[in-house]
């Protein structure tokens, strides 16, 4: 099982790195989906099958599909890819790389110092998660639903095109 974890981690990291550097939006999206699938495998090795399934269904299956739809709608084309190449000059990378590198170093330092531990190895399935959700975390569920309602209303309002008004004399 441990080997699966490490392989999946490697895939996730590589595909995320590739995603960041692509020029075509669709290519990047596909790499992102691969990354998400790899993360799902990682979840399974950690003993969270329910979440692994949800990652695939919702994250990769709904959110990423939404991204794909929007990119297709925009219909960017080849000329957008050329524009992206012009924008991605090597000099652009130095600042962010330094910043992220410092952050990474800090986090590594913190993690190396800690004692850590290991996962318990037990599988906590949907039953356990459900009991927790509708027990102690009930209010979180309600809040999440309100958040989703807000997102729904917002997206609807933003997407609504106004019909051109007839001229009023």
């Amino acid at each position: 099982m441990t080997i699966v974890f490490y392989v999946a981690s490697a895939v996730a990291i590589v595909s995320t790195a590739l995603m960041v550097t692509r020029l075509h939006a669709v290519h990047a999206l596909l790499y992102l989906i691969v990354s998400l699938l790899a993360i799902s495998v990682v979840f399974y090795t950690l003993g969270a099958p329910f979440i692994a399934a949800l990652e695939v269904i919702i994250y990769a299956g709904a959110i990423m599909v939404l991204f794909v739809f929007v990119v297709m709608l925009l219909n960017l084309g080849e000329q957008a890819a050329r524009a992206e190449r012009a924008l991605l000059k090597p000099s652009m990378w130095t600042g962010p790389l330094i910043l992220a590198g410092v952050l990474m170093a800090e986090l590594v330092y913190l993690l190396a110092a800690g004692s850590g531990g290991s996962s318990r190895g037990a599988m906590i399935g949907p039953r356990g998660v459900g009991a927790s959700l509708f027990g102690p975390y009930l209010i979180g569920v309600e809040l999440a639903s309100m958040l989703l309602l807000g997102g729904l209303v917002g997206a609807y309002h933003l997407g609504w095109r106004k019909a051109p008004k007839p001229e009023v004399r």
């Binding site: 600042g95 962010p96 910043l99 992220a100 410092v102 952050l103 800090e106 986090l107 330092y109 913190l110």
Partner: protein
Amino acid sequence: MLELLWLVPGIPFAGALVLAVLGARMSHKSVTTVGVGSVAASAIISILIAAAFLSAPPAGSTYTQTLWTWIDVGSFRPQIAFYLDALSLVMMLVVTFVSFLIHLYSAEFMRTDEGYSRFFAYMNLFVACMVTLLLADNLLLLYLGWEGVGLCSYLLIGFWYQDPVNGLAGRKAFIVTRVGDTAMAIGLFVLFHSLGTLRIQGLLHAAQVQWSTGSAYAIAAAALLLGGAVGKSAQLPLQTWLPDAMAGPTPTSALIHAATMVTAGVYLIARTHVLFELAPPVQFAVAAIGAATLLMAGFSALTQNDIKRVLAYSTISQIGYMFLALGVGAWGAAIFHFMTHAFFKALLFLAAGIIIEALHHEHNIFRMGGLRNELPVAFWTFLIAGCSLAGLPLITAGYYSKDLILWSAGSSAAGSTGLWAAGIAGVVLTSLYTFRLIFLVFFGPVRTSVTRRPGLAMTIPVCVLALLSIVGGFDKAPFARFIATALPTLPEAVGGITETLSSIFAALAFLCGLLGAWFVYQRNPSLATAMVENPAGRLLHRFWFSDWGMDWLYDRLFVRPVVWIARVNKADVVDSIYVGLANLATFCYRVLSFTETGKLRWYAAWIAGGAVAFVAVVMFL
């Protein structure tokens, strides 16, 4: 009758208010009625009060009328109260009567001026403030009147304000007297602090009880009051404003700068004589200042060519005589000289006004001449006044008063032969410049022709004053007896000069001056020009013409440094602190506004950077 005392300053004050508020809308005739009438009423009431006072003197020969409490703070309760005794009665009489004559005169003199009602408003206000000053029961009310007359003096000197020279003269007068006023205010603080009251009689009594002769408090208070008196009375070293004050109309010069306001310093010293008696060094300083000023001003008067400036220096010189009398302890003599001086000096100015108007505003005496036959009224009155000023023996008032001063200076305990000799030299100078003036203006060929003869309103006052200049001195003995009820008399002569000897010398000095003037200006006019052409003569002439260089000195000492400081501080050091703060805030704003680029990635980068820094802080601290 004595209860009407408050009307004496009250009526002119009301007149001034009416003229100030309604003057522009009143007719010429009603302005004249209000302006002259208010002072006439004041004079009539003063005469009635004097008659009542003399016929039935109240207890202790003093009368106090309290109107209301002015300020009421803890133990400080000055009141609006008037105090009438021989000293204030005499001065009130002289001031109101001479003011009435001058107001009558100016009804004709200023008749064509467009600021006619404004002039009378200022003059009425002046009379009100001057009488308040004289009648004040406490030093705070006296200071109110003091400041009031200073204000009216400023307003009237700069009366023709369209010419900036007049405004400058008014400012100079105000600022120089302000120096003296500040000293006086500090003196009031010292007096209140140590004696606890400003009521004059109470204060003098407490000073006698608490302070020994020569104590530091007495010297300080007396010296500060002397500072105020020196400023208002134009004595050394604050005399530079009076010659320039001649920029005002001639009636103003007659009233304020000859007869009344400039004698306020004399009144102050006479009123607070106890303080000066308690401080012998200061009293000696009074005499010394008087002697020095009378000589200095006499020399300066010899060289002037503006008729009013000669009279201004003459005023400075005569007030020097009054200070001399005060300094040797001859209080009554000083007041007597004040009275006669008011008569003949006001007359001199009014007659000069007749001449100036007749010659269409010509002031230069070297352009006048031969007016003896053209303006007989002016000639005879001017001659009488000039003889009184110089001290023509026996028939003029000035002779008696000046004689008394000279004898007191020579024979009293505080006097000395030196002071007496200075006085005699002053008589020579006075006679010299007076007759120089008379010979140049009234004798010789006519250089400017007469365009206008004076009317009745101008002739009557000068004739009345001429009469007073002659007979005013005959009441010397009754006057001395009367004034002794308010002021201490001089102890009997301890030796030195006898009265007769002093009189003879004074008469000789008068003759010297007369003959000298006649010789130089009438007989050999070329001698005068020759004296000035001579290099030494020219230097002296310029030196004395510019008032012994005092204007130049003050300009270098005080005016230039202050103007330099003002110019250097044009950027205003104090202000730059506040402006600097504002500039700092603006600078910070400009620096911070660089962070608002509007670029999304820039903001994201800063957020990330902040998070990284935060983690680092948590890690290492």
